[in-house]
Symmetry: C2
Subunit: 227 residues, 2 copies
DNA sequence: CCTTTGCATTTTGAATACAATACACAGTAT
DNA sequence: ATACTGTGTATTGTATTCAAAATGCAAAGG
């Protein structure tokens, strides 16, 4: 008699566990850009030996979150302004592609859900709740990428997002920039509703390009202010 | 008196060495898609211990060239038709972006050099030398990406190219497809010469999309023929 | 006082040793 | 015969050990 088990036991491998934990530490700022990643200390804190930790460091290095300097240890990647300027167009191209694909693959309900998120953001914008807006905005863009139904695209998008986020380049918006972003979202959602892939892609490219320019300008102002 | 050394000694780290070597083995087919990567045997052949080899495997895993199955060893990634269908649009979007950027950054000489490559390909096409054409074609596209002057873009492009190449999805072209590819290259070069970023991007997207469709069709025919 | 050099210490890199898991195959029962 | 189970073997995963390189610091020299 065959016995059916409802749930398979899945022990997450230690490697994946360590990788996830290090990613989190970088994402939440426990490990700051430029900071050294001491192998012995970290392995000790995690209760593991250096071997699996080092393997995880290689993975994070390949993802661009760490810089592995031979014989000199790993460091949380520091992105120069130039490198940020390289990454933004790439993530823009990927999101544009996602929008184009989504026009073909997304269901009406999916797009409606995206509009809901947009309306939520509009409300958050209206009441000036930037923290909530940023969270919803991230969900909005992540959802859009999901709608493309392309796993590889999703992987690369998330990887890039983590790199940019780790560099602390997700900044508060100036009021005018914020207004414009909301207006652009409106047009993006409209293009998706119209299944206009060409426009959706173009709008996303422009939206990301503008967002990048705003972020770079704000970063510049911030660094000026520090002097 | 300060002594100036013309060239810094750089011993490539063992890790990088192993990674490069494994990449080559996958690229040239020494390691075939689906094949298992036995740690002990490989480490022995390379004259190293399993530790640095395993670290290299993690890197290749993060790049998508290997699939690391916990407790069950690494396998050279096998791309299903669906996964190939996911990767082609991504590489297309990246090349399109490269073309757009190149319109702004490339010098006239750079573009002229690209046209030379195109003319070379045209000659190779005329005399039916497919091997030479494929090699020049790869150079052409790689050069185009270089012209964008965006290091991160090049890294991601090369990574994707390696994944597709490793899956043995660079196929011989049908005559009609080949004719069309040459014609598309002509238009791409013209758009670059005219510094028409919008057109160049669009042409690249279409070119890659068509190339992908051709490749998928040829692969289907090939698998049919095997039965 | 600043730079350079030598040495002790720390940290990283690689090999080895050990443990845990998966695999192959033979034996057994149905 | 087939499917299950148990056992030995091979392979992967992790810890430990040893070697090599980098770092910090103090002493020597300009």
């Amino acid at each position: 008699m065959a016995v059916h088990v409802t749930q398979t036991i899945h022990r997450k491998s230690l490697h994946d566990e360590i990788v996830a934990r290090l990613r989190t530490m970088i994402e939440d700022g426990t490990l700051q850009p430029g900071q050294k990643v001491p192998e012995q200390a970290l392995a000790g804190q995690m209760g593991i030996s250096r071997t699996p930790l080092r393997e995880a460091l290689k993975t994070l290095g390949a993802e661009g979150l760490l810089v592995l300097r031979p014989n000199r240890g790993a460091v949380v990647a520091v992105l120069t302004e130039a490198e940020i300027g390289e990454l933004f167009p790439i993530i823009g191209a990927l999101e544009a592609l996602a929008a184009e694909l989504a026009c073909a693959t997304a269901s009406a309900e999916d797009i409606a859900a995206l509009r809901d998120l947009h309306e939520t953001m509009r409300a958050e914008h209206a009441r000036g709740d930037e923290v909530a807006y940023r969270r919803t905005n991230r969900t909005f863009h992540a959802r859009l990428v999901d709608l493309a139904d392309n796993g590889a695209l999703r992987d690369y998008y998330e990887q890039l997002h983590r790199r940019i986020h780790a560099a602390r380049f997700i900044l508060s918006k100036a009021p005018a920039d914020w207004d414009r972003a909301v207006a652009e979202h409106e047009r993006i959602v409209c293009a998706l509703e119209a299944r206009d892939a060409q426009s959706a892609g173009q709008l996303l490219r422009e939206h990301l390009s503008v967002t990048a320019a705003d972020a770079m300008r704000r970063a510049l102002e911030r660094s000026r202010a520090e002097e």
